[in-house]
């Protein structure tokens, strides 16, 4: 079992980790304490004090917030998308590339989908404009609820106390 320092995990998050260590991370059994280092590194990167429970993207978190310790999905900028069990995308901004003209803003002619078959749905933070996700479904497709973690079981696996509202 390999172990890593918080500095190494911080470098990993920044994309600056040296290749030898990165390769060791890939090839060796996983280090269970990674989660704690990771959360600690991320917590230092955000401007708010709410406790990060689970990162959902580079700028999107499941966080324990307020005095009631309710669990919400939250942008790095502080914008809250509501209860963590609800799909955060429903409270985001959406921009749909559903015409050839809109598609050609992101790919050259012939190298983007035909919008009669497929569209791109970009989800932005209403506050800071971060693009948290791009869906590429057919028209009519329901918004995908990507991930619904079982926090109690997860913290049991980690041998850590679960958030009170998990």
């Amino acid at each position: 079992m390999s172990t890593y320092t918080k500095k190494q995990v911080s470098d990993l998050v920044k994309g600056d980790l040296d290749w030898d260590t990165l390769h060791r991370m890939l090839s060796m059994p996983k280090d269970k304490e990674r989660y704690s280092h990771y959360i600690s590194v991320l917590q230092e990167q955000v401007d708010w004090d709410d406790r990060i429970i689970l990162p959902l993207g580079p700028h999107l978190f499941l966080a324990e917030t307020g005095e009631d310790k309710s669990l919400v999905t939250k942008c790095e900028c502080g914008y809250e998308y509501g209860d963590y069990q609800k799909n955060w995308k429903l409270n985001a901004l959406i921009y749909v590339r559903d015409s050839e003209e809109k598609m050609q803003q992101v790919y050259p002619k012939l190298m983007a989908p035909d919008t009669g078959w497929q569209v791109y749905r970009e989800y932005y933070c209403p506050s800071c404009g971060t693009m948290h996700d791009v869906e590429a479904p057919t028209p009519w497709y329901p918004v995908i609820h990507d991930f619904q973690p079982d926090l109690k079981a997860f913290f049991d696996w980690l041998d850590l106390p679960a958030p009170v509202n998990a």
Binding site: L12, Y35, Y38, G57, G129, P139, V143
Partner: protein
């Protein structure tokens, strides 16, 4: 897992092949029963051998695994087909008596499951009675209704005996270059049913006393276009299987039969535990939802098929719900998949489930200990009647990969959310490309022989981006992780197609903080053929991958072919030639170097059937890039500068997507102005907020389109097909869009042929046929 309770047969019951005196079917049933009752493979709550003699256990594993890999490396040198010899499209696997995989070689390890399914089919259908299973026998299988991926994967299966008792099986598979389908090439189009999909062999006894039967050799060679490759592939498989059989016999001599047989069960339970251990250490319990699509554009005039009911545009659909359970097992449920279709992209459940391990060995279980244990730790649900579990025995499967790889890309994306959440960023992969195009065709080649080709350059597409680094350029394909585009010189020997150029494909990696790996393109000119056809096979109207956490999907495919090019005259006259770089397809660079009368097809129609190509005609083989990770505005300006200067990215999209301010010096070098870029990126964020619409508001608009039935025919057909097979999917759809209770969408109302939707006949309806079912359906 079904249990074939009783074998009803008029055959005389043969003497048992097992020391226990049981039939093979009874032996397997007892094993399945013990597994079901205890939750441990074969009831092995304790791994007695491993725990009491760990060194002996490891000695056997290491010897067998090394021998499997060695046999593959030696045997592939016998093959002449570049698909096998260059690309390594072969694999050898060792099974226990019940047909469960003990260990496998490197290579196309999807066949761990497919060959295992063939062995189980023989067990379940009383092969021991007829045609009999004896030392020295060889069986050949490529039947897609037993579990094979597509007919070109030919498996040779050899039983292994010790002192007169069966102790296991070894299987070897190669991807042959042609199986005599309607369309030439191993993964062809044109046929829409099994009856045109090439020769299919159902666990046929093709050899006795270690010698292939003459009738088999004569018949099989004349059923394919490329007999020399066929025979050398057959010798490759037989040589590998016999090397491994020798190895097992040697192992039994050294370790004893009791140790070997204990090992052959315990190693599978060990594999089962290995997967749950990895799930627990790497993932997060909960539900992950994901979905994949691929286009089947068959209404186009360049798709010529024999039956009018296949001339429709359709979309293949694979939603998946991955449930990681608190006990660290998992369930993959594909409720809502669309129906199988009249094309060659259908898949057997075994091809689907076994193939997933090809992907998982590249992330979740990156270990040499891949065996059937992982399958026992996984619940699969593939609803009957869908494209991955057809309920009709007419289905064609020649290019099952068209959607298999697309649907797996979504799983990779889904499971990467777990890795990301736990901080295992090094494991995150935005997905795989749909590795295509498949350049295929045939006719009379430069040697004056009947020939068929399938260029495996596509084994080196761009990979998906990671959460800490870019995807790899022209590096790998999910179905064969060796990743090799093959040598130009070898392909030119194998195909009457000269290389006008081979170069990285600009702007094909999905954008993101870390971009997807780029694909590449090769421009081929037909040369030296007598009669020659080719066709295209890939995705064009749709993407198969999506990008992850703000990253974009990779670029889609497009088609370029040119006829009556005037190139032979231009070569004689010393004029300029197209040399392989189609940097921006809108600029039509190739056309600047063709004769005035050239006929060019440059469009999104990336699936075609045989078209005539004369010497001097051109074909662009464009191999796709991988999807991106993270918001492109987070990409390091230095990386963008590198991309521009290496011609990986078009300046227009550096500006539009990455929000950089760039300039070019007189020497042609690009640079990014960091200060202006920071300001520009703030503007891009503001522009996003300005053009974005609250999702709830957009839902209202989209809902109205659904009520108005405002969508293309292919989109409506896809939904109607899924609704017909899944009331649950229909219910969830209606709930999400808040549709009236009476709302429905039926294929009957779309005005397109729907052969197969209502009337079909399953393989199980044939007399005396007991299919092997290993998934919930």
């Amino acid at each position: 897992m079904t249990i074939q309770e009783t074998i009803v047969s008029s055959e005389t019951k043969p003497a048992s092949l097992l020391r226990s005196g049981l039939t093979l079917n009874d032996h397997r049933n007892l094993m399945l029963q013990r597994t079901k009752e205890t939750g441990f493979y074969d009831g092995l709550e304790k791994l007695e051998f491993k725990e009491s003699d760990p060194i002996g256990y490891e000695r056997i594993f290491s010897k067998l695994r090394a021998g499997l890999v060695n046999s593959r490396e030696v045997a592939k040198k016998i093959a002449a087909s570049p698909i096998v010899e260059q690309e390594g499209e072969l694999c050898f696997t060792l099974y226990n008596v019940a047909g469960d995989c003990i260990a496998t070689s490197t290579g196309i390890i999807i066949h761990v499951g497919t060959m295992g399914a063939a062995i189980k089919y023989m067990i379940q259908n009383n092969w021991e009675s007829n045609p009999g299973i004896n030392p020295g026998d060889m069986f050949t299988n490529n039947d897609c209704q037993i579990g094979n991926v597509h007919p070109c994967d030919i498996a040779t299966i050899v039983p292994i005996f010790h002192e007169g008792n069966l102790i296991g099986w070894v299987g070897g598979v190669t991807h042959v270059i042609d199986v005599g389908a309607v369309g030439p090439g191993s993964m062809s189009n044109g046929q829409i049913q099994r009856f045109g999909d090439g020769v299919q062999i159902t666990c046929r006894k093709t050899g006795v006393n270690d010698t292939p039967l003459r009738d088999w050799l004569h018949e099989s060679q004349r059923n394919v276009r490329t007999p020399k490759y066929w025979i050398l592939d057959e010798k490759t498989r037989i040589a590998g299987c016999h090397m491994i059989r020798d190895l097992v016999e040697e192992t039994v001599r050294e370790e004893g039969i009791e140790a070997y047989e204990k090992f052959a069960s315990e190693v599978i339970e060990d594999g089962r535990r290995g997967l749950t251990s990895r799930i627990r250490s790497m993932t997060i319990p909960g539900k992950i939802r994901t979905v994949a699509f691929v286009d089947v554009p068959y209404s186009h005039e360049d798709v010529v098929v024999p039956s009018p009911f296949a001339k429709v545009d359709t979309i293949m659909h694979a939603p998946c719900e991955i449930t990681v359970k608190p006990d660290a097992t998992w369930r993959l449920d594909f409720e809502g998949c669309s129906r199988w279709g009249w094309h060659t992209y259908n898949a057997n459940p075994v091809a689907f489930t076994s193939g997933i391990w090809v992907m998982m060995t590249q992330s979740l279980v990156p270990t040499e200990r891949i065996n059937d244990g992982a399958r026992y730790a996984t619940e699969f649900r593939l609803p009957k009647g869908t494209w991955t579990n057809p309920d009709d025995r007419r289905t064609a499967h020649a290019d099952a990969w068209h959607f298999l790889v697309s649907s797996w890309s979504s799983l990779w994306r889904g499971i990467s959310r777990s890795y990301f959440g736990r901080g295992y960023l090094e494991e995150v992969n935005a997905g795989n490309s749909n590795p295509c195009n498949w350049l295929q065709g045939g006719g009379i080649n430069q040697e004056g022989e009947i020939h068929a080709v399938n260029s495996f350059e596509t084994a080196a597409c761009g990979t998906g981006a990671c959460a800490v680094k870019d995807g790899l350029n022209h590096a790998a394909a999910i179905w064969n992780p060796e990743g090799d585009m093959g040598d130009i010189e070898i392909w030119e020997l194998a195909e009457p197609l000269l290389y006008m150029g081979r170069t990285i494909k600009t702007n094909t990696g999905g954008y993101g903080k870390y971009r997807g790996g780029l694909g590449f393109e090769t421009l081929r000119m037909v040369w030296g053929s007598a009669d020659w056809t080719m066709f295209f096979m890939g995705n064009g109207y749709m993407n198969s991958d999506w990008g992850l956490m703000g990253g974009y999907p990779a670029a889609t495919g497009y088609r370029f072919e040119a006829h009556n090019t005037g190139l032979l005259e231009r070569i004689q006259n010393g004029q300029s030639l197209p040399q392989g770089k189609d940097r921006d397809p809108g600029e039509r660079e190739f056309e600047k170097h063709l004769g005035a009368d050239a006929q060019v097809k440059r469009d999104k129609q990336c699936i075609t059937t045989e078209a005539i190509f004369e010497n001097g005609d051109l074909y662009l083989n464009y191999l796709r890039g991988g999807p991106g990770f993270g918001d492109p505005l987070d990409r390091d300006p230095d990386a963008i500068e590198d991309d521009l200067n290496q011609n990986f990215l078009l300046p227009e999209f550096a500006e539009k997507v990455y929000g950089v301010v760039i300039s070019q010096n007189k020497a042609g070098d690009w640079s990014v102005d960091r200060q202006k870029t920071a300001a520009r990126r703030l503007d891009v964020r503001r522009e996003r907020i300005a053009r974005g619409k609250p999702t709830q508001q957009w839902i209202e608009d989209e809902r109205q389109k659904i009520l108005d039935k405002e969508a293309s025919l292919q989109v409506q057909q896809m939904f109607a097909s899924s609704f017909r097979l899944s009331e649950k999917f229909l219910g969830e759809f209606k709930t999400f869009w808040d549709l009236p209770a009476g709302w429905d969408l039926k294929e009957e109302d779309l005005g397109i042929p729907m052969f197969g939707a209502k009337h079909h006949m399953d393989l199980s309806e044939l007399p005396d046929v007991h299919p092997v079912i290993m998934t919930e359906q």
